[in-house]
Amino acid sequence: MSIATNQEWKPKIIVFTCNWCTYAGADMAGFNHFEYPADVRIIRTPCSGRFDPIWVMRALNRGADGVLLSGCHPGDCHYGTGNYYNRRRQTIMKNMMQFMGIEPERFQTSWISGSEANKFQAVMIKLVDDIRRVGPNRKLRDAR
């Protein structure tokens, strides 16, 4: 018995999805056996209007290496306008975090509808690739 000294780093990626589009898209991707990396953890929320920028910062603070927010395409929101509000918020927050020196890859967004299982798969593969390229998150991570 020996302790493995060379553990391979695996990214921790949080994906916030809206209940109505992206979660259904993820469901459909699973239904159709589309493979995508197992490094993403999906958290379901009622609407992309529910996304709070503090979730992203908190996730990065508590050990996530990347965060993706995903909801219905603008105009398709189940509640009408949720993703329009979210779009403004996250545009500003993204600029702000980049201004403070966080890599743009760490905080991403994509609009994925319920029927776009292919897109969901493609986005997840690209997301994990991006995070693997920029490496572990050391900047906003809690150092304790």
Binding site: P74, Y85, N95, M96, F99, A143, R144
Partner: protein
Amino acid sequence: MKEITSKLQEIATRLFNEGKIDVFLAWEKGEQEFQTKSYIAHSVDDVKNIIFNEYSIYNVSNALLKLRDGHEKIGIAVKGCDSRGVVRLLEDLQITRDRLYIIGIPCPGLKDPLAAARSFGGLGKKESDQGLAKKCLECIQPNPVIYDELVGPEQTPRQQGDRFAQVREIEQMSADERYKFWEDTLSTCIRCYACRQVCVACDCRTCIFDEMKPQWVGRETNTTDNMMYHLVKHAHMAGRCIECGECERVCPVGIPLMLLNRKLIKDVGELFGGTEAGLQYTEGAKPALSVFKENDPDNFQ
């Protein structure tokens, strides 16, 4: 300044006698010559304490938050930046317009009490020809934007050149350089929350930084927690900062907080357009992040 003081006292006396107001918000003399405090006059007898001098730099609109739950009618003396704060509170429905009687003071530019304290103390140096405070040199709105009565002649904006120059400079750096810059700058933060206390846009009843369950932001003064604090605080300022510069003025360790605020103002202006926060009052108007357009920029994917 002397005329403005006497005029303020005259107006306050008149309003009290006419029964138009129950309290009057202005400044009073502080302990030192170079200090003033915000002051709430409750009757005609208190009016003699009201003062406006070159150190009346404190943003009194913030003190309206202490009175937001009452029903008393409020007279308030405002400079240009304070009047934008009043608009901020009206927009946030923290206070109603019919409770306010606003006396506008076109601001000639004021001095920084902290700088004055430094020149007074220590080496026996007396107050020399101390210039205007930094926030007054960067002022774009010296004239009140909302008032019932105006005291004194109108002033011209003192901001020279491009107020976003430093923001653009930092935007040119690489991500690691930017992080290094903010790491160095924010590592001095002692988390005294003075910037939050003095901010007129910080009008939540329960602040997210005071919440224990869930505790969103750690309370240690290490780099990550400090960065979290400033990111979250400025996330709340987006489209709401009135650029009064109070946060930067009260910061005991001199963090350039207006740099972050200006970045937000610049981005909101470039991306969503519209007038800047608090520059004009229209009933029912909302801050930039509480409204949307269908053709907002969508090129971040």
